[in-house]
């Protein structure tokens, strides 16, 4: 019994003892990286995963060629994605099972070099350049002037100084209101609880001041302030379609279809939900817009066509530093 115990203990000790490095044979060298674990099962797994990756990559090419397949994009994505994922799996198996994971130590580098710092300062100082004040001043002048000169062509990028064009609109007294296809609107075209987009006839429809929203309000609901009282025509009001907040198109018209919820008609911009009241000249009733919607005076021509009665009462589009919140001079 005692013998067996001794043998067991010595066996364990032998097993636990760090093995002495085997003397190097001829032609052998000391290892830098410890030997990798021998793992035939995992090696086979990695090989199979790589082959699966290859198969999916080939499938991608096949799918690409057979462009009559339904769900072409989906199959392409599936085959390429799976190919990459199989290869990724093989690499991760390799990392964790087939090569050794060393946990090594290294020193963090010392970052400061006081002597070197001193040397740099000395080199600069000893050069004598830093002491020539006039030369330094002249260098700064030349550098500054040259920078300014080189930056000047930036001005060609756009009319940065000429801000008058931000006020320009195509609307004059008598300008006809036309629809997207250039057909003039008649006052009788405009129905209640509906919403119409109009443009200045002959203008660039994409220019912000060109587009309008037209709505007809129920009789008696118009409450325009005195200076805008003559802007409506037969209960029809026209506002710039461009939100004064951030320049999106105002494409929502909330007519009071659901009485208890929404008491008044409103023009709403879907970008940040600035809400304007079409009945009182376009004031902001909710949302971030900082000023009212520009209103366009309307006239009805003898033939029933809608015409502009003049320019907007406000500049169109997003505000900027220095813009006047009043009728632009024309």
């Amino acid at each position: 019994m005692g013998r067996a115990k001794d043998a067991l203990i010595s066996g364990i000790v032998l097993l636990l003892r760090r093995r002495k490095p085997r003397p190097l044979g001829p032609g052998e060298r000391e290892r830098v990286v410890p030997p990798a674990p021998d793992n035939p099962g995992w090696e086979l797994t990695a090989v199979l995963l790589l082959l699966a990756g290859a198969a999916c990559a080939i499938a991608f090419v096949v799918v690409y060629v057979l462009d009559r397949l339904p769900a072409h994009t989906q199959l392409l994505g599936l085959s390429l994605g799976l190919s990459l994922l199989f290869i990724a799996a093989a690499l991760i198996v390799t990392a964790h099972r087939l090569i050794v994971t060393e946990e090594l130590e290294d020193d963090y580098p010392v970052l400061e070099h006081p002597e070197e710092q001193e040397l740099i300062v000395q080199v600069v100082e000893d050069s004598g350049l830093t002491r020539r004040r006039l030369l330094k001043l002249a260098l700064l002048t030349a550098g500054g002037a040259l920078t300014a000169a080189v930056l000047t062509p930036i001005a060609s990028l756009g009319p940065a100084v000429d801000l008058v064009r931000f006020y320009a609109t195509p609307w004059r007294r008598g300008t006809r209101l036309v629809d997207e296809h250039g057909k003039p609107y008649k006052a009788s075209d405009i129905e209640e609880d509906n919403f119409y987009t109009a443009f200045a006839e002959g203008s660039d429809k994409e220019a912000l001041p060109s587009s309008l929203v037209l709505v007809r309000l129920p009789k008696g609901s118009l409450k325009l302030p005195r200076e805008l009282a003559h802007y409506a025509a037969e209960g029809i009001v026209a506002y710039s379609k461009i939100c004064t907040h951030a320049g999106c198109a105002i494409s929502l018209y909330r007519a009071p279809l659901f009485q208890p919820d929404e008491p008044t008609p409103a023009l709403v911009c879907p970008c940040h939900y600035s809400t304007f009241n079409p009945a009182d000249g376009g004031t902001v009733t909710f949302g971030p817009a900082g000023r009212k919607l520009p209103m366009l005076p309307l006239l009805v021509a003898p033939n029933g066509e809608l015409r502009a009665g003049g320019n907007f009462d406000q500049p169109v589009g997003p505000s900027w530093w220095g813009v006047r919140e009043r009728k632009p001079r024309t």
């Binding site: 392409l76 190919s83 990459l84 990392a95 090569i99 130590e105 907040h245 997003p318 505000s319």
Partner: protein, 453 residues
């Protein structure tokens, strides 16, 4: 063979010592250290797919009439830019896969950067000597936000145009120079001239990616020069000794595996999950917009900021000073980024800790930092969620206006409250650990005493 190559390279460059050091450079191991890598690999996918897309994209605002396979837009007038992206999505073989993968990669690129930033912030990894790395990382994030925005703007579909209109509104609102700067960028009032598209295009496909690549290189070089930070996960880690897996052979298959996994997931998403179906939006015209439009996720906080600010312009009489979009669209992100840039300096002033740090904190170990970071995160996240209030209205029928008022109040109340809670939680966790340590020591002492008896 290997020996031959190494000898060839070394004899002609003398780089063997550098290569050997690189091979044995140590990577400390923690899952959260992979977030930056995910961003890097997304960037690689972005460049690869992006180059492919430039081979088909036409940078022109010339008008054409559509006669392609997509019936609903048949006969519609649109720009060549939009038409070319429609073609990439319909007639170019594998074009839609590459386009959608590009878009997904952009979203995940920025998500990974943001998560990486959170990791860096809450573990104090930005501390001396790594402030430069941190500042460059923040700059990469800012440039990437712009890069992503330009990416979906050059498509010239309806959503692109709405986004650009808002960008114009924000640019116009900049104090003093808003109109001048906008006139320079757009070559006149919105929607600008055709050269504006050339500018966006060259910025998106060359200037900004090149800038990101340069910043990324410097970022990585700075990381390597000082070695990675590490958690104090054992007795071997210290401020002087880094413990980790060497580049080769240990780290290489791990990193390559992650690269392939990221690319695989991105292509699966690109193939299987639809993103930005531009054919549904139609071409943009300044006089069109659509309800329920949402930007890519990383601009959600700006939409939220723009929507939450109450309706006012800063005016004197009828003379406008600062228009409204400035606050939510420019001041808000600038304040957030400025705070993040200044934070290492603020923290040093507050704590008086001017030392070098190679060991990371767990968030609980620095309650002040965690509280401040958590408050900032709450603020930004709240505004981000506010950006989807119109969706909440449509999906859950929560009235819009009360929602906005709630967010306006919460934006002021929630950050300090959540910051204080975070501070308290950190303190409690620390106290809990102290008790635990004391209990363990007492138990050990008791055991030792028992053994002695």
């Amino acid at each position: 063979m290997i020996r031959g190559i190494v000898r060839f390279v070394d004899r002609r460059s003398g780089s063997a010592p550098f290569l050997r050091k690189t091979l044995r450079y140590l990577f400390p191991d923690h899952w959260s250290f992979l977030l930056g890598e995910v961003a890097l690999y997304s960037f690689i996918v972005l460049v690869a797919t992006g180059v492919y897309l430039t081979l088909f994209y036409e940078n022109s605002t010339a008008k054409v009439v559509y006669h392609g396979p997509y019936a609903p837009l048949q006969g519609e007038e649109m720009t060549q830019a939009y038409r070319s992206v429609l073609d990439i999505s319909t007639t170019v073989k594998a074009g839609l896969l590459i386009r959608q993968t590009h878009h997904w990669a952009a979203d995940i690129f920025i998500a990974a950067i943001v998560l990486h930033l959170l990791r860096i912030f809450f573990t104090g990894a930005y501390r001396k000597p790594r402030e430069l790395t941190y500042w460059i990382g923040l700059t990469i994030l800012m440039v990437s936000l712009l890069e992503g925005f330009l990416g979906y703007s050059i498509v010239d579909d309806l959503l692109s145009g709405m986004g650009l209109a808002i960008a114009y509104g924000v640019a116009m609102s900049l104090p003093f120079v808003g109109a001048n700067v906008s006139a320079l960028i757009w070559d006149g009032p919105f929607p600008g001239k055709h050269d504006f598209y050339s500018r966006m295009y060259i910025a998106h496909v060359f200037l900004l990616p090149a800038l990101i690549a340069v910043l990324l290189t410097v970022h990585l070089a700075l990381v390597a020069m000082k070695h990675h930070t590490q958690f104090r996960s054992g007795p071997r880690q210290s401020e002087r000794k880094v413990v980790g897996v060497p580049t080769f052979p240990g780290q290489t298959p791990r990193s390559l595996g992650l690269l392939f996994a990221v690319a695989g997931v991105l292509f699966l998403l690109g193939g299987l999950v639809q993103i930005n179906p531009i054919w549904l939006w139609g071409p943009y015209h300044t006089y069109l917009s659509t309800n329920g439009a949402q930007p890519d996720w990383y601009l959600g906080w700006l939409i939220g900021g723009l929507r939450l600010v109450p309706g006012f312009d800063l005016v004197i009489g009828d003379y406008t000073l600062v228009p409204n979009p400035f606050w939510g669209g420019a001041a808000f992100p600038l304040v957030v980024f400025l705070f993040l840039y200044l934070w290492p300096w603020i923290e040093r002033k507050l704590t008086g800790d001017y030392g070098y740090h190679n060991l990371l904190d767990r968030p609980r170990e620095s309650p002040l930092r965690t509280a401040v970071g958590w408050a900032l995160l709450t603020w930004v996240f709240l505004v981000f969620v506010a950006g989807s209030s119109d969706r909440a209205y449509v999906l859950f029928n929560v009235p819009y206006i009360p929602q906005i008022w709630a967010y306006r109040v919460l934006a002021f109340v929630a950050p300090p409250v959540s910051g204080l809670i975070a501070f308290w939680v950190c303190r409690e966790l620390q106290a809990g650990e102290r008790v635990e340590r004391r209990r363990k020591r007492a138990e050990e002492e008791a055991e030792a005493a028992e053994a002695a008896v």
